[in-house]
Symmetry: C2
Subunit: 140 residues, 2 copies
């Protein structure tokens, strides 16, 4: 079970960009949150131990431990004694304030500006945004 | 001129969220990059000195200095002796690789997952994504 989880659930979808300005522990947490939100990791699923995932990703033990702590604080994981973790049934958060939503839109705008600055053409960015919007509404 | 720039160009648009997990120097750089990409800061525009902006935003001097360095490395700013900066005419970067574009889409997906995890309804997120796509193509 365990090995399956590392091999088939985690490996293909978590990738780390060592050149990114986003710290690695955040990259791991962000990627795992995406798997959790999309339902590819379900309540009851066992995650690899911190040590195994660290070896797998070629990063420091503490880096993975920090990612797991973040997700545990957000209510996604229950951490286990021997440094493993299990996905738990997370309470649906209450709808955030309008101000918080505005901040989210601002974060999106800034990320898009970053893509433009990197030279990705605006029509490509726009079509990706529309695709993502479609897949959200279809529940994809 | 100088004071105008702080007062009317920078102040209304840079906001810092102290509770965000994104480091403050990155928040400042991201917000300024957005102003640069959208053309609200133009080549030749003088930016406030590091010290003035730090006081303005209520953050450490070194934090703002780091943001300016990031943007200078990206080719947006020319740093000045007394710690001011001027917006320069930045060369259009060459179009990034397909792999880089895929990474960008992944970053977007992860940010969206974060919004979902915070409880923003998917239809709201989708409509914001479509609005952003529209404004990009209209050159807004």
């Amino acid at each position: 079970m365990y090995i399956d989880c590392i091999q088939y659930t985690m490996n293909p979808t978590i990738t780390i960009d060592p050149k990114s300005p986003v710290p690695v522990y955040r990259q791991i947490a962000d990627a795992m949150r995406h798997l959790l939100v999309s339902g590819r990791l379900q309540p009851g699923d066992a995650l690899p131990t911190v040590r195994d995932l660290a070896v797998d990703l070629g990063v420091n033990f503490n880096t993975v431990a920090q990612s797991y702590r973040i997700l545990a604080e957000e209510g996604w994981l229950e951490l286990k004694r021997r440094r493993g973790a299990v996905v738990v049934d997370r309470e649906q958060p209450s709808r955030p304030t309008r101000e918080r939503e505005q901040q989210s839109v601002q974060r999106l705008r800034e990320l898009i500006a970053q893509f433009q600055a990197e030279g990705i053409p605006v029509d490509r960015i726009a079509s990706q945004l529309r695709k993502l919007a479609d897949s959200l509404v279809k529940g994809g």
